[in-house]
């Protein structure tokens, strides 16, 4: 299903649509088919104008078994079309999905409102491939292609374009290609010949998309490429220390593929080694990064503190997932915010950024590396399962257009620098890399003398060092853009969000604005430090509501950082993104 979804969304993008996708799958690798917990889904939203989310409720649902129907029935529009495999809707399958009658549509109370397209997907696929010398398992796997053909028909996608696209995908597997094309075309023709009273969809080319060359990219891949771009811009080797964990592993896997870009990836023995090898690499002069999710960020806490103390550049990517503990590995949440901010012993400030779309993970990974290198500090980049796995259109950048990166190296002519030597004004420590005679020093986790760099427990010195490390992080505010406000210019209500909820919040606010409701949106991607104008923006509004996929962590942070005003909250912790509809409803209720 994931492959079919990717194929259909990429095909649509090539044909000029805006796309946004949301793969939603169980944490079991081969979860028992037909069970409610084993449903794997792929949601795609096509737009003839700019779209910001994978959409709320579906116009079309393709369902391969009753369980998939049951799990997704609440996420479809009133007059949606449901394509279902009649071969997989027998008594046994219905029972497996815990239906008690033989009419699941009636049981779900949707039989009057949806339009059903029953298709014997399994037997038609078998029929389609009967002349191919293929085992039954491979034949059944091609069912998805039949469904893809049907969807291409339903959305008026030219079949030639689909074939051309498939040919590219399977160019090294001619036999697989031949079979897939056969089934795809049969599916497409089957749709044509249905003569059903179904109105097919016409999603025109998007004209609002800025002109340029595009691809479709997932947030995890974009993150990996952002780090590569930064390493090239800084003229440094990229080192990634990483331990596999869902949903973050794709970043490691993508970087492991990129040996052509000189990336050094170490799959380490555990999360702690992932970050500590990266700290060693940073000490030795690489652009060092580590990536993780869920409990992995907790395991890395001590070492993040070490990087804070050693004042070394380091990027820590946290692709957040449902927690606490191992929680909901494949589901999305924004629940690591305060852990990223404060989850360490001692006064341990780090820079925190949060990407807001799959494609802009590239930008924020790049910026995380740029800030880490230019300010000699660890930077935590927060993304999550929703944008990490999801994909969106990405306007391809030109290397020359990316900002310069100037690591805070020891300046030429400096000698005898201590381990703690820093710029007196900005407090940024000089990155003092082994190999240079006369600059030998000992760095590490113990507190050091401000001047000599020698280990020190002296009272006032510790205060001075704590203050310097904080001042350095505060100084980063000069590198980040002001907070922008979107939506109504004269609104009394400000919606605040951060990170991956941007698409849903923006869609909700724009919809409300279209309905004449005055609402504005301020969305944060720079969390620590906050943009300079944060207080100025927030205090302007009569009402402020902070919407986030946690119990209120950013609201808590804002109460500390911009105190003296009321913050309303809208929170959801269900392992799922917001829907624009629920946001609209809630925001509307605040206007009354």
């Amino acid at each position: 299903m994931q492959l079919t979804g990717t194929l259909f969304s990429n095909l649509s993008a090539i044909l000029g649509n805006e796309i946004s996708t949301f793969p939603d799958y169980p944490s079991e690798i081969r979860a028992p088919q037909g069970t409610l917990f084993g449903v794997s889904g792929f949601q795609v939203h096509l737009g003839s104008e700019k779209i910001y989310t994978p959409g709320d409720d579906a116009d079309v649902l393709v369902t391969m078994n009753p369980a998939a129907l049951k799990v997704n029935a609440k996420g479809i529009k009133k007059h949606s079309i449901i394509i279902f495999d009649t071969d997989a809707f027998g008594k046994k399958e219905l029972e497996k999905a815990q239906f008690t009658t033989d009419n699941p549509f009636e049981e779900l109370k949707i039989s009057d409102t949806v339009q059903l397209i029953p298709v014997a997907l399994t037997s038609l696929t078998q029929e389609s491939l009967k002349d191919f010398d293929m085992d039954n398992k491979s034949v059944l796997r091609s069912k998805n292609m039949f469904a893809l053909g049907l969807v291409c028909w339903l959305f008026n996608r030219p079949i030639d374009a689909a074939i051309h696209f498939l040919s590219g995908k399977f160019k090294n597997k001619p036999k697989v290609l031949e079979a897939n094309v056969k089934v795809l075309v049969d599916g497409f023709n089957y749709g044509h010949n249905l003569h059903l009273n179904v109105s097919t969809f016409q999603v025109n080319k998007s004209d609002s998309t800025p002109k340029g060359m595009y691809t479709s990219i997932s947030g995890n891949k974009a993150t990996a490429w952002g780090l590569i771009a930064a390493s090239k811009k800084a003229n440094l080797e990229l080192f990634l220390g990483s331990y596999p964990i869902t949903p973050s592993s794709d970043i490691m896997q993508e970087l492991a593929r990129r040996k052509d870009m000189g990336v050094k990836v170490m799959q380490s023995e555990d999360e702690i080694a992932g970050i500590t090898t990266a700290i060693g690499a940073s000490f030795a002069g690489a652009l060092a990064a580590t990536n993780t999710s869920g409990p992995g960020i907790a395991l890395k806490s001590e070492a993040i503190g070490l990087a804070v103390m050693a004042e070394l550049p380091l990027v820590i990517v946290d692709v957040m997932r449902g927690g606490p503990s191992t929680g909901l590995p494949t589901k999305t949440e924004q629940t690591d915010l305060l852990q990223a901010m404060y989850g360490r012993n001692g006064e341990s400030p780090v820079v925190v950024l949060a990407a807001s779309t799959p494609a802009n993970c590239f930008h924020y990974a790049f910026m995380a590396a740029k800030i880490a290198l230019e300010y000699s500090t660890p930077v935590v980049l927060l993304t999550d399962g929703f944008i990490g796995n999801g994909s969106s259109l990405w306007k391809l950048p030109k290397f020359a257009d990316l900002p310069e990166i100037k690591p805070h190296y020891v300046k030429s002519g400096m000698t005898g620098l201590s381990a703690t030597a820093r710029d007196p004004e900005t407090k940024i420590r000089y990155w003092n890399i082994p190999g240079v005679p006369g600059l030998e020093h000992r760095n590490g986790g113990l507190e050091k003398n401000y001047v000599t760099g020698a280990v020190s427990t002296e009272a006032l010195n510790h205060q001075r060092m704590v203050d310097a490390r904080q001042a350095k992080v505060n100084y980063v505010v000069n590198a980040i853009p002001d907070l922008k406000v979107e939506g109504s210019a004269d609104a009394d209500l400000l919606v605040i969000g951060w990170g991956s909820t941007y698409g849903h919040l923006k869609t909700a606010v724009l919809d409300l604005n279209e309905q004449g409701k005055k609402v504005a949106l301020a969305h944060f991607t720079y969390i620590n430090p906050l943009p300079k104008n944060t207080a100025e923006v927030i205090t302007k509004y009569k009402k402020v509501v902070v919407c986030e996929l946690n119990g209120g962590q950013f609201a808590t942070l804002l109460r500390t950082k911009v105190p003296g005003r009321e913050y309303l909250q809208y929170n959801k912790v269900q392992g799922q993104p917001f829907s624009s509809a629920e946001l609209e409803e809630h925001i509307s209720s605040l206007l009354k």
């Binding site: 090539i14 080797e237 080192f239 000189g262 391809l396 030998e440 000992r442």
Partner: protein, 339 residues
């Protein structure tokens, strides 16, 4: 010809301005001295040398060496050293660790750095006790030992560092004794010459919390009878009178006396540290008194590809074949369309 290189650096070039703050009489002083002598001998410049450590008494060592140094967090020295070496293979990297740091909290990193064969020199200061945290038992404390955290004696079997190194498919293992400067120097020198993870177990005395832990070996009058210093290619002969030796009897080692029962020097085993087969190396590692002498020196020294070399090579191979040379090439390589 060699003399030019050897005299390039002296021990003083590797002494930092920091006062060494171990307890008077601590065995760590001797290991530091041997290490600095080796550093001077191998002729690698201080700026090309990095000493990494974790936490514990021994892990303070980087402060005392004039080189680049990193004093990390408990147990993670192996991983930090790995990162340093992989990121910059031109550096000579030492990892200094103790029996607690290396084998308890850092056990995982230790076995994996050994398994990967990262080209670093690892000195494990084994005093069979936690010193810095004041006298708790460690993973190498002998069973039954009374310590601050085992008032009725420990009930755990200890690790034997050499055995663990073999289990992790180590390519180099040596053992030294703090009071034996000569074999310490020889062993550490061999460790620096070995490409890969060179594990050197340093038996050191903690005068405060575990005084005399290695007394059986270090006692001057009996040391030569209770230890054997192994060197590749040399006969396994030991003893004050150099009249004792090791032979194989069936699958087991046996101590014999030259000149007795018709045994001549020719019957004595010749040490082959270079054989990949770890069987005899493990037997030598496990020897203990009073039946056997405890093995010091270079027990295993096998050539194998290092992780850092393999990674560098793999990157070079991929780059030579790939048409993607620049970031713009990478961008051009994706499926893309105009909008």
């Amino acid at each position: 010809m060699d003399t030019i290189e050897k005299t390039q650096y002296t021990v003083n070039d590797f002494k930092s301005d920091q006062l060494v703050r171990w307890c008077p009489g601590c065995g760590d002083y001797a290991i530091l001295a041997a290490m600095q002598k080796v550093m001077a001998d191998i002729g690698v410049a201080p700026e090309k040398t990095v000493v990494v450590s974790g936490i514990g008494c021994s892990s303070r060592l980087p402060y005392y060496v004039n080189s680049y140094g990193f004093h990390g967090i408990h147990g993670r020295g192996a991983a930090i050293a790995t990162g340093v070496k992989v990121a910059n293979p031109d550096l000579t990297v030492w990892q200094v660790t103790g029996d607690g740091d290396c084998l308890a909290i850092g056990g995982n990193h230790f076995i994996h750095s050994v398994r990967r064969n990262i080209d670093i020199n690892v000195l494990i200061f084994n005093n069979q006790i936690y010193g810095l945290t004041k006298g708790q038992y460690s993973p190498t404390t002998l069973k039954g030992c009374i310590t601050n955290s085992s008032p009725f004696g420990t009930i755990e079997e200890p690790f034997r560092p050499g055995e663990l190194t073999m289990g992790a498919r180590g390519t180099f293992f040596g053992r030294v004794l703090d009071v034996d400067m000569k074999s310490s120097h020889m062993t550490m020198l061999a460790a620096t010459k070995h490409k890969g993870t060179s594990v050197v177990e340093c038996l050191v005395n903690c005068v405060i919390f575990h005084d005399g832990a290695h007394k059986y070996l270090s006692e001057k009058t009996t040391r030569e009878d209770r230890t054997i210093v192994l060197e590749h290619g040399k006969k396994m002969i030991f003893g004050k009178n150099r009249d004792k030796g090791l032979i194989l009897e069936g699958l087991n080692l046996k101590v014999v006396t030259i000149g007795e029962n018709g045994i001549t020097e020719n019957d004595i085993l010749t040490h082959d540290a270079k054989t990949p087969d770890p069987t005899l190396h493990l037997k030598l590692i496990l020897m203990s008194g009073p039946e056997y002498p405890v093995a010091l020196g270079v027990i295993r020294d096998v050539e194998a590809e290092t992780y850092n070399d393999a990674l560098t090579k793999q990157i070079a191979d991929v780059q030579a074949k790939s048409s993607v040379k620049t970031f713009d090439d990478l961008i051009d390589s994706v499926e893309q369309w105009e909008m």
